[in-house]
Symmetry: C2
Subunit: 771 residues, 2 copies
């Protein structure tokens, strides 16, 4: 085999382009068939929650209605891309689980009905649907259900441009760039057998697959079929291939396009996209791809030969994705080799040989040499990347020990089970992992929970998002021409600035609510002590709070719940005036506090917060019960989870002591032990959903309060004396309206249902998903 | 005369109501005729700028179209009320001066045309206009032009209620309260001659006044007429009186109402409001006043006998207003005295005697005794109020020395001049004071200048305002049913929350503008050093700024204007990353900075700021020129004025030294000497209006920028290379869009015109004033 192109490598290093060589843009597309709880192909329609499938840039259908395709945006790193794939996996899985469906974990189809009963994807465009019908006729629908992963890659544009400039090429830039991508494409085609060897993970299939293939296959058990040494059904003769190997040139874009156009004209192909090449040349936009390629050249390469790997939740691992990236770089830095009709046939033959005989003889030698050569390349361009070097060593190991390959491992595991059972168990395991991921948007865990939830909901229904300022949780959501700027999930264009300012200012809030006849704690604002003193007589027999207008960690606040002297009253004001030039005197309100989440004309959720507590079982100690309660995956530390772990620190120990308890006490069954006075979630408090328990009269008051301030999104904090009673003019009080209410607490409460506040935001911003 | 009611006084003190006794609510109404520059009654219509006169709660017309009535809201202190009157005086005067008119400073009319040429106020309600026409017929229009001040007063409601409760009265509360007010009213009627003696200030009138009066009068000069000892024409027989003294009972509300209804039924009066009593009983609302009085009792008293005093800009002094308040309290605390037909006639006679003979004999003795009694009362209820005691001493002095009375002083001054000339000079002097008050809203100088301007504009056009949170410059503007919450003048409901958030975040702003094809400084945001380093090559030959995302007093900012090494570049990023986890690299933009104030679809003003400077005259030193420039009333200290005084502190002296100058240097004529590097207004910089100089192409860009962010109110900061050139894609750059732009700088620039940004805000919030 040919060695590295050292001239090129040295040139790149010399021009200081080695760092940029390793940059690129990455995108992934992944198909999975949907299955029911028994592993049978789901015959239900594509879930409505994913919106209009042609509008959703992230979640679509492929050939079959039962085949979900997940499409990541392109990112500047494969890590980001991988995380987004995981996010999509979680989002889709969580939705499917609501109706008891799963994503099938194998590239090979699950238990299939008769070919004609496999539902073709219902498309709005009748031509699209007709194309699928024709494909079904031509290849059989079963074959079209083979699923996999496409890997889209382009080099960093700056790298390409600078390389072009440095190379003093006489060609125009487009030709230069096309030349590089064509070289990579040819090399990939030539050596794809190695990639397929290292990624293949579908050695076994179900007996419901295409009859001819099943007839030729061996049994693992009655239902589980295989061919000896075949590690990837879709890359085998029973796989996703054109009827015959078409000869399409990869020597130039012109030839590539010409050959494809000829095949379509001669009706060998229904359209250019029926060309099931393991690699495709792709233009920047998809309107009229071949013409685009001619006009603007290659924008990226699409590798189409990767199996879903049941060993990984997301169907592929980050390491393999990184390996593929390095492999592509390697394909660029190798010597260029002729790749015409003969070489193409040889490459196809190599693959078939691999599928029939496994990795043997000279191919094994070549495989090791290729990895060696990649290691050599790495020493030149990125000598510090020790993890990658280790990964390459590992791949070499797999080449030398075929039992270590993914396909071998999968097959071995199936031997203890069955094709159906094995993959179904995996599907359910991964589904549970996705469910546990819950509120998290993979790759975006640095964002606030409310923002993660909103973005998940956006992705689910196909609203495109872009993080315009990540630190600030500032996103742009786009659906067609409709654009919305959103900060921290609920700061949107639907609230006016003055509305926010009203809510921000407690004096103003109260005034506005009062004017609408809504009950707020009575009281006054004073700008000097004299005025306050004049009102002593008015207040002396009430329960009151005296506090600086801007409360600052509770400084300067006095609460009087009994008769108080004029001297106490004066001292309280003097203290408060030390902290602000305006001091509020407020009625001290009793009752329980509830947070009403109002969105538009609706109370979306109602929460009551309870101080950190545990409930005795008559067996375990307080300390043990805390430990137990903290196992809840909703509890974490540092505001990265909807609830916080209960601490057993100084504050909690002191609180227990005051109440004559000790962490080693064993509370009796059902006894509630509190660990804190305050009910903040941040100190381990519980959030309890009361949405269905609170009478409608209170909900109406919350909505009225929001309307009074003109708010679309707000959290109304209401004190209620007794939720068993309907609201009167006496038994409630609104103590605050908050803009930017947290939504995650209503989606993932300690007790209660997910109130889907994330979806409500999108309903209000973009309209509901049409039925 | 009767003494104080000591039982009542002691009861009040005993019940700790003495503080609340001195509280109250106060309102003022003031009429002035409008005159032209020669002191002739202005025959022009009521200025359009004051909006619809029946809707404007502050500025209306009275009998004549040429007679402006200013109405303060009611306040809890006479100080606030007085300041609001001053605000109205300034606002009206500033507007009138735009067309060369003035507020006439005397209660007595200016030079009048023939009676039939005096324009009756044009009213929307034809009945209102007809009533005025009838009055004109009945009394002559000239008499109706006598102007004055009405003083509305009520006791603190808490005081009344507590007094009622403490007194264990068997009457219902309404009767009790009415009783107190009726007592005050009777006493005021009885002793009003003293008030009129102490406040009368219109001893002279013009020969164009009513013929009979002129015929009987003495001359000061050909045009200036008087009656000996008459100190208040409107309170005299030639004044504003009913044809005959109607006998209306003040013994009970029922009798009062009955008597008035009888007078109307017998056609003696056109309506109850034609009863020109020196004091009126007033209900809380004015819809059907007599019925209201019967139903809900007296809400306040209206005293109607006060002259405009030409010695004071606002027609009355704060001291006199305070004196009147104490007089009213005194009327409550005096012994009650019978006041029936005989006593009413005696009171009228006393007044006529005063007008004919001055303060003589027993009335003089009574006057001194009354003041003595007020002093005695003060010792009981507010012994610490030394200023008031001094004021009472002063009033006693005036009683003993009639030459010290306002009327005597005014008459003496007119003797050196003429009625016309004296009052016209005063009118012009006061007008200049109002003009100098400029941006200030009297009584609200603690508010931001932009808010003061907005409120002035609101008052002018009759939009009601309320300070909902004074510290926060948070106001509610109301016009009919239309309510707007406004904070700091430009934070309104017309901007959405997301718009504000876009402007608040520089990264987002740039992104949004860029997407609309608007030029912003090029650059990138980096979240780690590695990514930044990869881009070194891209930037190395540019002029760039490297800065933390959130700039914090300029810390961590590096500017490279020449080629820079990779080490410098790295160090700059490292420094910036010490201050923020996101660092911006930005193109360093050249040109001059202009602030475009955009409101709606319009560029309202454009300012360029110039560092503190003086211009030489070849005579004075730098220090002297600074002193001279600082005399501009627009310059002050501590952000209470549109411009700040230029300092000659350490920074300025150092700056001069660096430029080889000294404060004692004498710059040559026209030489500009800068005192500062930075152009901030806060360090003495000049604001120069360029609104008319900047080509429209830049204005369109500013408007486009505002639209891109969705902003109604914003300040667009644009760098422009050369304002002589039209905008291209190269020669400008938007560096910031600011929400909450200051408006005062565009209304009161150092150089340029008032761009009326305050009015524009109201146009956008409430619609333009209809023509």
């Amino acid at each position: 085999m040919d060695s590295l192109n050292l001239d090129l490598i040295n040139f790149i290093i010399d021009k200081k382009l080695d760092k940029e060589l390793l940059r690129g843009r990455f995108g992934l597309e992944k198909e999975n068939t949907r299955v029911d709880k028994d592993g049978h192909l789901a015959l239900t329609p594509h879930p409505k929650a994913f919106g209009n499938k042609t509008d959703n840039p992230y979640i679509q259908t492929d050939f079959s209605e039962s085949q979900i395709e997940m499409i990541t945006p392109t990112f500047n790193s494969i890590e980001e891309t991988y995380h987004f794939l995981e996010a999509l996996q979680d989002i889709v899985t969580q939705e499917l689980m609501e109706t008891g469906e799963y994503l099938w974990t194998s590239s090979n189809p699950p238990v299939l009905p008769r070919d004609e009963d496999i539902p073709i994807a219902h498309m709005e465009d009748p031509l699209e649907e007709m194309y699928r019908t024709q494909l079904g006729h031509k290849y059989g629908r079963k074959k079209q259900l083979l699923s996999g992963i496409h890997y889209n890659f382009s080099f960093n544009e700056n790298f390409l441009k600078k390389l072009y400039e440095a190379s003093l090429s006489k060609d125009e830039y487009k030709l230069f760039k096309d030349g590089l991508y064509l070289k990579v494409a040819r090399n990939v085609l030539k050596y794809r057998w190695l990639l397929i060897y290292l990624t293949g993970a579908s050695p076994v299939f179900n007996k419901s697959y295409i009859e001819q293939c099943v007839a030729l296959s061996d049994h693992l058990d009655e239902d589980s079929r295989y061919f000896p040494n075949m590690n990837s059904l879709r890359n085998s003769v029973c796989g996703y291939r054109n009827d015959k190997p078409f000869n399409v040139s990869f020597n130039s874009v012109n030839e590539y396009v010409q050959d494809l156009q000829n095949l379509v004209q001669s009706k060998e192909l229904l359209s250019a996209k029926e060309f099931y090449s393991p690699i495709r040349l792709k233009p920047a936009t998809g309107e009229n791809p071949l013409q685009e390629l001619l006009d603007n050249g290659i924008a990226y390469l699409e590798l189409r030969m990767f199996d879903l790997n049941p060993l990984f939740k997301n169907g592929i691992s980050l390491e393999i994705l990184k390996f593929i990236h390095l492999f592509l770089v390697y394909m660029l830095l190798k010597q260029d080799e002729p790749f015409n009709e003969d070489e193409q046939q040889q490459a196809n033959l190599d693959l078939d040989t691999l599928m029939m005989e496994g990795l043997q003889g000279s191919m094994k030698v070549t495989a090791v040499a290729l990895i060696d050569s990649m290691q050599e390349m790495l020493r030149y361009i990125n000598p510090d990347d020790q993890p990658m070097n280790t990964l390459l060593e590992h791949k070499k190991n797999i080449i030398l020990n075929p039992a270590l390959s993914y396909a071998s491992i999968v097959k071995a595991e199936i031997q203890h089970s069955s094709f159906l059972h094995y993959h179904l168990i995996k599907a359910k395991q991964y589904a549970n992992h996705s469910l546990e991921a819950g509120y998290k948007l993979a790759g975006y865990e640095d964002l606030e929970l409310s923002t993660q939830l909103l973005l998940k909901a956006a992705v689910k229904r196909g609203i495109h998002f872009e993080l315009i300022d990540r630190d600030d949780n500032f996103v742009v959501l786009t659906k067609g021409d409709h654009k919305e700027y959103v900060k921290q999930a609920t700061k949107t264009a639907l609230d006016s600035y003055s509305t926010v300012l009203i809510m921000e200012n407690k004096i103003v809030t109260k005034e506005v609510l009062k004017q609408q006849g809504i009950r707020v704690p009575g009281g006054n604002a004073y700008r000097n002590l004299q005025d306050a003193m004049l009102d002593y007589e008015v207040h002396r027999e009430k329960k009151i709070v005296i506090k600086p207008k801007s409360t600052n960690f509770g400084l300067g606040i006095t609460i009087f719940t009994n008769n108080f002297s004029i001297e106490d009253y004066q001292r309280a004001f003097e203290m408060a005036f030390e902290h602000d030039r305006t001091v509020l005197l407020e009625e001290f309100v009793t009752g329980k506090e509830y947070r009403f989440l109002v969105m538009g004309d609706e109370v979306v959720g109602i929460l009551h917060r309870v101080p950190a507590n545990i409930v005795g079982d008559g067996v375990r100690t307080i300390e043990q019960l805390i430990h137990e309660k903290n196992k809840d995956p909703l509890r974490g530390q540092g505001y990265r989870t909807p609830l916080e772990k209960i601490q057993l620190g100084e504050a909690e120990r002191l609180f227990l002591k005051i109440h004559s308890k000790d962490p080693s006490d064993i509370p009796r069954l059902g006894e509630v032990i509190y660990l804190r006075e305050n009910s903040n979630i941040s100190t381990g408090g519980d959030s309890i959903d009361f949405t269905d328990e609170i009478p409608i009269s209170y909900k109406q008051l919350a909505i009225q309060s929001a309307k009074a301030a003109g708010a679309t999104f707000c959290g109304v904090d209401m004190m209620i004396n007794d939720i068993e009673q309907e609201a009167t003019n006496e038994n409630y009080s609104i103590i605050e309206i908050n803009f930017n209410p947290a939504i995650h607490i209503h989606c993932y409460p300690y007790q209660g249902t997910n109130r889907k506040a994330d979806d409500k935001i999108l309903d209000l911003l973009f309209g509901k998903i049409d039925g």
